[in-house]
């Protein structure tokens, strides 16, 4: 399978990428190519121009940022999973990155491409929403930060303006003592998440003092499990309490749960309860 024809440009800097993107009608950025090229081969996308940012050095790497981390848009899943800084400050992100696809996909796919693509079956949008991360973007009108909770606006849709590119993702450090976990139900062929659940839980004196719980794979954008968080607030963290809180997730889906030949929307919603429970159990066990 071949993509349809396009013109190719390789950008050397963010400024050049922004210029090329704005100067060519319908142009698309090419990062790791592991979402865009499969779509182009199936002719689900046929951009007339590709702007390859794969060699833009200023978009690569992880650095400390206050008590959190700043991750360049071109940083691969493998680099995030292997980063000591991410493992220490936002371990749930390293855990999710280590579960993306398979080793070859993790070597090529990037965090910028992953969030910009906005596939509901992706892992990073779920975790970045749970962490309260900020997506940093640059365009012709300068730079701005967009909260992850506002960034994912629909199926393969995001809050970027035309001609804007993701430059990095700022991730706040997880509070000390909080336990975190990301668990997923991998599709057996592609390894994409059928359902993924991220949990960040703090416990004080045997009682949950704060919780952030987000589910991916069920609706077109990450679902904040507000009912689960409310059930956890001030509750105990024994197995029964966590199971009861997790079952509240069914109240958080707004009726646009997705289904396909592999997993119906009913099945995904049922599994969401199971995976939220597992995420809560793992997060509580790791905290302290």
């Amino acid at each position: 399978m071949f993509p349809s024809q396009f013109t190719y440009h390789r950008a050397a800097s963010v400024a050049e990428a922004v210029e090329l993107l704005n100067g060519n009608e319908g142009a698309k950025l090419l990062a790791g190519g592991h979402s865009l090229l499969p779509m182009m081969k199936l002719r689900l996308a046929s951009p007339p121009t590709l702007v390859d940012i794969g060699q833009v050095a200023e978009l690569k790497g992880v650095s400390a940022d206050g008590d959190g981390v700043r991750i360049g848009a071109l940083t691969t899943h493998a680099e995030i999973a292997g980063s000591a800084l991410v493992q220490e400050r936002a371990p749930v992100l390293a855990e999710a990155a280590s579960r993306v696809g398979d080793p070859a996909v993790r070597n090529r796919g990037t965090i910028g491409g992953n969030v910009a693509h906005g596939d509901p079956q992706s892992d990073l949008p779920t975790v970045l929403t749970a962490l309260g991360a900020t997506i940093n973007a640059a365009g012709q009108n300068g730079e701005r930060g967009i909260a992850a909770a506002d960034f994912f606006t629909g199926l393969l849709e995001n809050a970027l303006d035309d001609g804007e590119i993701v430059t990095s993702v700022s991730v706040p450090g997880v509070a000390s003592g909080a336990g975190t976990a990301y668990v997923k139900f991998s599709h057996p062929a592609s390894r994409y998440s059928v359902v993924g659940a991220a949990a960040i839980v703090s416990v004080a004196n045997g009682v949950c003092s704060s919780a952030s719980v987000v589910v991916g794979g069920v609706e077109s954008t990450p679902t904040r499990a507000a009912s689960v968080e409310a059930a956890l607030a001030g509750s105990g963290v024994g197995a029964d309490a966590l199971a009861a809180a997790a079952s509240a997730v069914s109240g958080d889906f707004q009726g646009d749960a997705m289904g396909d030949v592999y997993a119906s929307s009913e099945y995904r919603q049922a599994m969401a309860g199971v995976y939220v429970r597992r995420a809560l159990e793992a997060a509580v066990a790791r905290g302290g």
């Binding site: 399978m1 071949f2 993509p3 349809s4 024809q5 390789r10 090229l37 390859d52 398979d102 996909v105």
Partner: protein
């Protein structure tokens, strides 16, 4: 419109003018004439097109040749010196790690990366590392055993 591409494959420089939409796997097979690397699913899932791109495994059906211009690629043909088999090739033979052999080039390139990073993997770690490589024949048991044996032969356990 064609674009110039120059890729070092198994230590030899291959250059040419290609359409931007040409995939790396076709550059390897058609321009460089190295047909050990296979095309299976063509949808990024089976891993039989796995090569090492600048030292890290990649599915060459999901990379444009022009994206890889300036890079170094290693394929299954580069693994042995032409006389002695690489320990992984030897072990796949000994342990019956292949039947039709279609998945084998990708399996071996992915296993080589694993053993470079983790010389003594457990069976579980081997399975995890080969998650992106699908085999329709063997049932995987002998592939895992072959990688285990190669690890031993290469000084790990």
């Amino acid at each position: 419109m064609s674009v110039p591409v120059e890729i070092t494959i198994n230590g030899r420089v291959f250059s040419g003018e290609v359409e931007p939409r040409q995939l790396l796997v076709h550059f390897i097979r058609e321009n460089a004439g190295l047909t050990g690397t296979k095309v299976g699913c063509d949808t990024s899932q089976c891993g039989t097109c796995t090569v090492q791109l600048d030292g890290a495994i990649a599915k060459s059906c999901t990379v444009l040749a022009v994206q890889a211009s300036g890079s170094t690629v290693n394929t299954i043909e580069g693994l042995s010196d032409g006389v002695d088999l690489h320990p992984l090739q030897e072990a796949f033979w000994n342990k019956h790690g292949l039947q039709c052999g279609f998945c084998t080039p990708g399996m071996i390139m992915a296993s080589e990366e694993l053993l470079r990073n983790n010389p003594s993997p457990s069976r579980e770690e081997i399975r995890h590392a080969l998650e992106g490589n699908i085999c329709r024949c063997t049932g995987y048991q002998n592939i895992v055993s072959a990688v285990e044996e190669a690890a031993g032969a290469m000084g790990g356990s």
